[in-house]
């Protein structure tokens, strides 16, 4: 299993292959479409993060000593972002997730989607992923 930073570096390399923004976004949209569907049972009011324009659902659970995330969104580009965040952070220990520095978003040129603080719920989602890790860490 790759470390958090190894996965981030992989993503940076993948995005490095694209010539222009359209290719990047087509890839992101594709990632969004392929995101494993979230069990409807997890799409509860407690799991929803309301952006001003679109919603994100996030659920986390502990499997062994690892934290596993499940998430979904109404918007496909946000789903693509979610897919990458899950690929980077899911299946790591709570301690690893808490300490993770998510530098890949900036490096692949997608920080715009985290800058739109209120519109899409992504910033709150990243924070919530960390909060889950903190909570799991505390009870471990």
């Amino acid at each position: 299993m790759a470390t958090i930073n190894e996965t981030q570096d992989e993503l940076i390399e993948e995005f490095g292959l694209f010539e222009d923004w359209a290719d990047k976004y087509e890839y992101l949209i594709d990632l969004g479409k392929k995101l494993s569907p979230m069990n409807d049972a997890f799409k509860t009011e407690e799991n929803v993060i309301k952006g001003c324009q679109s919603k994100v659902w996030l659920h986390a659970e502990k499997q062994g000593d690892q934290v596993v995330f499940f998430a979904d969104s109404e918007a496909i580009i946000v789903k693509g972002m979610i897919s990458m965040l899950i690929r980077v952070l899911s299946n790591h220990t709570a301690a690893e997730i808490m300490q993770a520095d998510l530098y890949f978003i900036d490096q692949i040129g997608m920080s715009q989607h985290l800058a739109q603080t209120r519109s899409n719920g992504l910033v709150a989602m990243v924070k919530q992923m960390k909060n889950y890790a903190i909570a799991f860490h505390a009870i471990a």
Binding site: W21, A22, I29, C52, I77, S119, N120
Partner: protein
């Protein structure tokens, strides 16, 4: 006065339009959110701070005199622009929202009581809903809603039925920001007056598109924002009938709004200063006057025709796109097209169009009750101004088709 509508020249008057965004020429179709500013307005701001800046109304020195004259000149221009009875009835605020809150907190607090009704429409911006809900909660009044039909037109027979003697105020927009419907405010005002209710018109979306004569329309209160009228941000206007404004208690207390202050009691200044506590936004008010001059210099009919042509062309072009549905098909509309696309979230459209240099607005447009009425999470909204062109619509439609292809 230019007698011909010279689009090339007009676009040059708005320097911001000439730029590349994400490697493509900017197509600015978010005019309902805010309009761009002509060079005259930008120059006026610069001139004010370079030559005239001082605090107004109190100083005796030359700069204070110049600043005061500049500030008050805009009030005079607004008197003409709205055909107000006097300059005293033009109150500067920070925007539409501030004007509505002022009326709610002063007129509303003094006049609403338990059982009274404030009528708003289903088309309103949150700014023309929430201040009424707040004052209703405090006073025991109720907010009731004029319904809208599937095409985006207000249901006038329902409106008539809602106009009971309990109605104290009707607060409606002249034009809907999210779908562009032009409401028949003349008729709505007459009907409200027949039962003794007052009317507040939210003109945020209409002042940029057509002239409003407050006397001819018999408007009790009118509010709008300078920034949607080619002027600076941070300035708004509240017009009110004199007897209403005079009877209203002041809003905020402070400097400017007083006549005499002592610890045994304070007397308030006259209109309009009673409602302009503290140092106002002098520079932006001054520059706003130049936006009004600019508008006056344009041939009115040509502006309206240009916008109408843009609306018709955009509607026709967009209607040809598979799976696209226009939300809001009122026969009387300003140049705004709100639309949704089957199976695609508006936010995704907005993000990708931006990459093509096209600026539109997506989301609920601060009109969640209207989105709920149409069972939508939001729409994509392209809103035009007279400086936009058909070739920009072509760029937009081309980018939109590519966007849809990328997303499906």
């Amino acid at each position: 006065m230019v007698d011909k509508f010279d689009i090339e020249q007009i676009r040059k008057d708005f320097p911001i339009l000439d730029q590349q965004v994400n490697g493509a020429p900017l197509v600015y179709f978010d005019n309902a959110a805010t309009t761009q500013k002509p060079q005259m307005v930008i120059d006026a701001l610069n001139h004010y701070y370079t030559h005239d800046n001082a605090n107004i109304h109190r100083g005796l020195h030359t700069l204070a005199e110049r600043a005061t004259t500049g500030y008050e000149l805009t009030r005079k221009k607004l008197k003409d622009f709205l055909n107000s009875e006097s300059t005293d009835q033009i109150i500067f605020t920070s925007g539409t929202t501030a004007g509505i809150n002022l009326v709610a907190q002063t007129y509303g607090r003094a006049n609403f009581s338990k059982g009274d009704v404030i009528l708003v429409s289903n088309l309103e911006h949150h700014s023309n809903i929430v201040p009424w809900q707040m004052i209703a909660e405090e006073t025991g009044a109720k907010v009731q809603v004029i319904p809208v039909d599937d095409t985006g037109v207000l249901d006038l027979s329902a409106y008539k039925a809602l106009l009971t003697p309990h109605v104290k105020l009707v607060a409606v927009n002249h034009v809907s920001n999210s779908i562009g419907t032009i409401n028949p405010i003349e008729l709505m005002i007459d009907l409200a007056h027949e039962i003794g209710a007052k009317v507040l018109i939210d003109g945020a979306q209409s002042v940029a598109h057509f002239e409003i004569d407050v006397q001819a329309l018999d408007i009790d209160f009118l509010v709008f924002s300078a920034h949607k009228l080619f002027g600076p941000t941070g300035v708004g206007v509240l017009y009110g009938k004199r007897e209403l404004l005079e009877a209203m208690p002041p809003y905020q207390g402070g400097g400017e709004m007083i006549k005499e202050v002592s610890f045994s009691g304070t007397t308030y200044n006259e209109l309009p200063y009673k409602f302009e506590a503290g140092t106002p936004n002098i520079a932006d008010v001054y520059a706003f006057g130049f936006a009004l001059d600019y508008l006056k210099s344009l041939p009115k009919n040509a502006v309206w025709e240009q916008e109408k042509a843009l609306l018709d062309y955009a509607t026709e072009q967009l209607s040809q796109i598979d799976g696209l549905r226009i939300v809001g098909q009122a026969p009387e509309k300003i140049a705004v097209v709100s639309f949704v696309i089957d199976g695609v979230h508006p936010q995704d459209i907005g993000v990708l169009l931006d990459k093509f240099g096209v600026a539109i607005r997506t989301g609920h447009h601060c009109a969640q009750p209207l989105m709920a009425r149409y069972e939508l999470v939001g729409t994509c909204r392209a809103s035009f101004a007279f400086y936009n062109t058909k070739s920009e619509i072509d760029l937009f439609v081309k980018a939109l088709k590519r966007t849809i292809m990328m997303l499906s």
